[in-house]
């Protein structure tokens, strides 16, 4: 029991370290990449290539004045930033990051919570994120925040349907909620060179998932909840200091969550064809984690690339895309995948 608790804590610490490194790195990547895309220099004063800039930002967050408006609903105002980080962080308990390894004769699955409900629980946890935005928007008692919060809620629930339908379709040929089985299902190759990744037979589903993922994380072109030009900063207008930083972290972490989910559902997760996993547990762990993180990093780069390439939608366009395009396409994809599985093609 204590041994298991220790392994669990080690695995959680591993994720925590990785995620808390990802956020500052992503801040740097986002700013440098935007500068590159817009043909300017970007942060280059703090450290070589501006690499220490995120650290300077973090220090600034700590030393800033923390303002709670007098009109705000204090308990909810405090709870919102906590709820921004909590679900995004906890979802990583369900992402597998390597094959089962043997440590001192004990078989240890490389996933924090090896549970039967896998994806279902992950979706449940991820969808809790909307509460943070609604609470922040409502409790601030600021008109911009309120509009941002309401927009965020209706946007996130609208696109959650499409997201769920895409995930469902990916589960049909696997026949399990467990993400480690989804990864195992995608091992091997077609015709000797094409990896058996879900993205090839389920390309429609992947596109639905990807678009919905952008909407779920409130990223451009779906950043209406914090549309700067009309709502100042949307639901976190009133937040400052560390509370604002927590919203920031939550946003990047939920991007990482959906990237990891996309990598696992559609791109083979921690597995890569042609890679032989070592028998030594720490090498196998490094291989699995390395491959998964590489895929996640590519997705995160894609998020940044899209952000600096597309203008923002209008709200009616957003709702039309979600309800009139993605939802029927999602249902069509579900039927298509079911029929293909029935025909024995998957």
């Amino acid at each position: 029991m204590t041994q298991e608790l220790i392994t669990t804590l080690v695995k959680i610490t591993l994720w925590l370290v990785v995620l808390l490194t990802t956020v500052p790195v992503m801040v740097w990547v986002e700013r440098r990449a935007s500068a590159f895309i817009q043909d300017r220099r970007g942060p280059n004063r703090v450290g070589p290539l501006g690499l220490v800039q995120p650290l300077a930002d973090a220090l600034k967050f700590i030393f800033k004045e923390d303002i709670t408006p007098t009109a705000a609903d204090r308990p909810l105002y405090l709870l919102a930033p906590l709820l921004a980080v909590l679900p995004a962080l906890t979802t990583f308990a369900l992402i597998p990051f390597g094959p089962d390894v043997v440590i001192d004769g004990r078989t240890v699955p490389l996933i924090v919570a090896d549970v039967e409900t896998g994806v279902l629980l992950l979706l449940a946890l991820a969808s809790l994120g909307v509460y943070s935005l609604v609470m922040a928007g409502y409790s601030s008692n600021n008109k911009y925040s309120l509009f941002g919060g309401i927009r965020a809620s209706s946007q996130m629930i609208s696109y959650e349907l499409a997201l769920t339908l895409a995930v469902l379709a990916a589960l049909i040929p696997v026949g399990s909620f467990r993400l480690d089985e989804v990864v195992l299902y995608q091992q091997g190759t077609w015709l000797g060179f094409l990896p058996r990744w879900n993205v090839f037979p389920q390309f429609i589903g992947f596109m639905v998932f990807l678009i919905a993922a952008f909407a779920e994380t409130n990223r451009v072109p779906f950043d209406l909840p914090e549309a700067d030009s009309e709502l100042v900063a949307g639901y976190h207008t009133e937040y400052s200091s560390m509370k604002f930083a927590l919203f920031f972290m939550g946003e990047y972490m939920s991007m990482a969550t959906l990237s990891a989910l996309a990598a696992t559902l559609y791109f083979g997760g921690w597995h890569l064809p042609g890679v032989r996993f070592s028998d030594t547990w720490y090498w196998a762990l490094a291989q699995g984690f390395g491959i998964l993180l590489m895929k996640v990093a590519l997705f995160l780069l894609f998020f940044v690339w899209v952000r600096w390439s597309f203008p923002r939608f209008r709200f009616d366009q957003l709702m039309r895309l979600g309800w009139k395009v993605l939802l029927p396409v999602g249902i069509f994809n579900l039927v298509l995948v079911a029929a293909m599985t029935l025909a024995g093609w998957l």
Partner: protein, 118 residues
């Protein structure tokens, strides 16, 4: 149930992390000057009313109601998707009937204009 314990541990660790961050900021933060900056932010104008005094579009409620309907439908789809290989053709036809009924409702909602914004 025991296999769910790690998630609880993860939640506790996450809460501790957030608490540590907030406490660190509390120790070092700058103490503000007056009550003027405690007003709701309105680009420098003095707010004449609070956000909670105002109403917003009824359409947001409509979207929420539609979401509940369709979300319940996806919950029905989950066990079917996972048991697909065992239910085979029978399950496929059953679910097509279910989806057909759903699509009829969807077309009705669409025609009533509930999916139109503005």
């Amino acid at each position: 149930m025991e296999s769910y314990l790690p998630i609880l541990v993860f939640v506790v660790v996450a809460i501790l992390f957030v608490a540590a961050a907030l406490i660190a900021a509390r120790l070092f933060r700058r103490i503000g000057s007056g009550s003027l900056d405690r007003q709701p932010y309105e680009c420098g104008n003095e707010p004449e009313s609070f956000a909670h005094d105002h109403q917003f579009s009824i359409r947001y409620y409509l979207i929420a109601v539609l979401f509940v309907v369709f979300d319940v439908e996806t919950i029905f789809l989950f066990p079917w998707a996972v048991m697909f290989d065992r239910l085979a053709l029978f399950g496929f036809i059953e679910m097509m009937v279910f989806l057909a009924i759903l699509v009829v409702g969807y077309i009705y909602v669409w025609n009533r204009g509930a999916l139109n914004w503005a």
